[in-house]
Amino acid sequence: MSFEPKILGIACNWCTYTGADLAGTTRLHYPQNVRVVRVMCSSRINPSFIFRAFQLGADGVLIGGCHPGDCHYNTGNLYARRRLATTKKILEFAGLEPGRLRVEWISASEGNKFAEVVEEFTMQIKNLGPQSKLKIQQ
């Protein structure tokens, strides 16, 4: 059986979550590996959420927010952008492939972009294989 990765998505309510809904409304088909948690803003995402996701066995983490400059809360995603860039470095330092964390700015009107990103990222994680570096073995 081929490897089906588990990917955790965290999406902001106003742009990426709505964009993901639009992908559905327009019936775009994409792989079902990403499970999305909704938060109000990408700035709500604490790096610990990402570490925890990898501990829980996520093979990849996809973060989605509004385009920089278009944040529903004015500047939230700018904080998120800086913090997530650092998080990526820490993950790399911990020995994880940086490609397992992806941050994308997807607006409410970009349903097709959401579908494309999920498709691409799922392929990418499939190529990287299962993540075991941070996973807590039961």
């Binding site: 639009l22 992908a23 559905g24 088909h29 079902q32 499970r35 999305v36 604490n46 809360y73 009107s109």
Partner: protein, 649 residues
């Protein structure tokens, strides 16, 4: 221990086609703390809602999970359902298995498996939810309308007639918008001015409307019910409180500027009103072309003004207003067709865009309604080219909706006013409005030549200088054509106003690919936006004709009224709070909050959050090093539990 009820919706076959819904309900029943799990065809229908309420009572439920469509669709509906059954509305969790599962897969195995994972996450989260109390706030009863074209005017009048005070903000020195530039309106060919100017006058006279012309919104703070707006009044260099609209100044002025109102076809004075029926009838000075501002002397207008209203020292001023709701009606621009060099706009004087032609027809326009070209001659043959830059993947994918009809109107008016041959070059004739198909049929009998094919290129004739050649393929006969004409009219794509991007940023409005403002839901909330209390009307939301624009304006007025008609309203309870026992006093939260909600209590050495200012983004919670800030409804524990549930399957 909580007592959770899970309700799985089939949504007809929308969900049930690619998710095994009964299997999902059976699976739910095996999850911790779930005491009842059911599936039903339409959970949002009356029987579905009653089933949830019945089960809350029968099983003594303290959490409800509805596994259905997106929370953005029906979270509010189901919150009300459980609240009416005596549960706190925040104890509801929605699992989105329609937009994010069943509609994006064709594989029922995949769909069912993902739904199970999402549902498991929801159960983990639901167990940690806490009841919350909505905040009740006072509502400011006034409304601001941005843009005073037909949409803004209609919305403002409607609200003002209900007794509400309206601030109508317009960036130009007159209200009226594009509709005031037109001569006739399709398909009835009634006179645009006759139906619009009385409304403009109503605005001027209405005691409940504060008309703010030559103004721009420069700052927006606050939230639904309590917006604090800063409006920039651009310097007019004429004190309108003194001016008595005698317009002696405009007669004497030697300066010449380009008339924006007449689409740059003629010059106007430097102190001017845009057109004779402008509202207000009071002039402004165009700094760029004014002789005094350019050369330091002249002041003729000042000399003739008996009211002493001319004020060359005038500066931009700022006005602060408070409103409860906002209607955005910023309208449209025509796409700039100069970059489409194949059509020769800006190169050949015989090529016009549609707004220029509207002005040529207008009796108050640069030619007093006579169809004469830039060289002063009457055209003997005219080609109208549809879909310039619209329905074109290289430029704008959307159909601009009104061009087919106004092009037919042009053809009719050309026939009425000249003896020219008129060609219509179209891709498809779109005549979907009331009376439109009839209008098309009427034009077919008016000796207009219809060619089904998009105009490909406009060049100058080598044999007859000044004459233009339109090249196109007639797709019915598959014949390549070269049509010699005197005049070419382009019907360019309709695009959002250039400034609408800034307005969108100020108000946090999302835009679609073309830059039009996005509605909250295309069908069920077409006038609402993602920003509560802000509504959209007219072409700023997408190209549309005057009847649709007016209908939207009336709708937006009604929507705004539902907010400002009440003295108080409920706001989401999902704000942040500080646990003073674990706050380390670092003030990270104070520094990052875009709304200034957290403040530092120097006496107690802890941060405190002003809930009235908090919008619930959760940024402070994620920068708090001691986890002292709790983002209600999205706490660390709740998010982490949901993640754990999602990753288990």
């Amino acid at each position: 221990m909580s007592r959770i009820g899970v309700f799985v919706c089939h949504c007809g076959l929308n969900i049930a086609k690619t998710v095994r819904v009964s299997e999902l309900a059976e699976f739910a029943a095996t999850l911790p703390d779930v005491v009842v799990a059911k599936d039903y065809k339409f959970m949002c229908s009356t029987p579905g809602q009653e089933m949830i309420q019945h089960d809350i009572k029968q099983y003594n439920l303290d959490r409800v999970i509805v596994t259905a469509c997106s929370p953005l669709m029906h979270e509010k509906t189901f919150r009300k359902v459980i609240e009416n059954a005596g549960l706190n509305q925040y104890l509801l969790t929605i699992v989105n298995i329609r937009e994010q599962v069943s509609w994006v897969t064709t594989d029922i195995e995949e769909g069912t498996a993902k739904s199970k994972a999402l549902l498991n996450g929801a159960v983990y989260r639901a167990r940690l939810l806490a009841p919350l109390t909505s905040r009740v706030i006072d509502v400011n009863p006034d409304v601001m309308v941005i843009g005073a074209g037909i949409a803004g005017i209609q919305a403002a009048l409607e609200l003002a007639n209900t007794g509400k005070k309206v601030y109508l903000v317009e960036k130009n020195s007159t209200i009226g918008g594009h509709m005031a530039q037109f001569d006739k309106t399709f398909p009835t060919l009634d006179c645009s001015a006759c139906i619009l100017t009385p409304k403009m006058d109503n605005v001027l006279q209405h005691k409940n409307i504060t008309m703010l012309t030559y103004c721009e919104v420069s700052g927006v703070k606050g939230y639904v019910g309590n917006f604090d707006i800063t409006i920039k009044q651009k310097a007019r260099y004429v004190d309108h409180s003194k001016c008595n609209a005698c317009l002696a100044c405009t007669e004497k002025c030697p300066g010449k500027g380009v008339s924006e109102w007449d689409e740059a076809l003629v010059k106007r004075k430097s102190i001017y009103i845009p057109f004779p029926q402008a509202v207000p009838q009071k002039p402004i000075i165009d700094r760029e072309s004014c002789t005094f501002f350019k050369k330091g002397k002249c002041r003729l207008c000042e000399k003739v003004c008996e009211q002493k209203a001319i004020d060359f020292e005038q500066q931009d001023t700022f006005i602060d207003v408070k409103v409860g709701a906002i209607i955005v009606a910023t309208g449209f621009d025509l796409m700039d067709t100069k970059p489409l060099v194949q059509y020769g706009y800006g190169k050949y004087p015989g090529v016009y865009n549609s707004l220029e032609v509207e002005r040529l027809f207008n009796s108050a326009g640069p030619t007093s309604g006579k169809v004469t070209m830039r060289d002063g001659k009457e055209p003997q043959s005219i080609a109208i080219l549809h879909c310039i830059g619209s329905r074109d993947k290289n430029h704008h994918e959307h159909c601009s909706r009104v061009c087919c009809m106004y092009s037919l109107k042009f053809a009719h008016l050309f026939k009425e006013k000249t003896s020219a041959d008129v060609y219509q070059l179209y891709i498809d004739m779109r005549a979907a409005g009331k009376g439109y198909e009839e209008f098309y049929n009427r034009l077919s009998e008016e000796n207009v030549k219809f060619i089904r094919g998009k105009g490909a290129r406009v060049t100058e004739s080598t044999e007859e200088p000044g004459r233009l050649i339109v090249e196109a393929e007639d797709t019915i006969t598959s014949k390549f054509m070269k049509i010699p004409v005197d005049m070419v009219v382009l019907s360019p794509a309709i695009v959002p106003r250039a400034e609408s991007k800034d307005i969108g940023r100020l108000l946090n409005l999302s835009t679609d690919k073309q830059g039009f403002f996005m509605e909250r839901h295309p069908k069920l909330a077409p006038l609402s936006t993602m920003s509560e209390g802000i509504f959209i009307a007219g072409v700023c939301q997408g190209p549309k004709d005057i009847p649709d624009t007016v209908a939207q304006a009336l709708g937006a007025a009604a929507e705004a009224l539902t907010i400002v008609v009440n003295d108080k309203m409920e706001l989401e309870a999902t704000t942040a709070m500080v646990n003073p026992a674990s706050c380390c006093g670092c003030q990270n939260c104070v520094r990052v909050c875009p709304y200034g909600a957290p403040g530092f209590n120097y006496e107690k050495r802890v941060s405190e959050i002003n809930e009235a200012l908090c919008k619930g983004c959760g940024l402070c919670a994620s920068v708090c090093p001691s986890s002292a800030i709790i983002a209600r409804h999205f706490t660390n524990e709740q998010v982490l539990a949901e993640m754990e549930g999602l990753m288990e399957f």
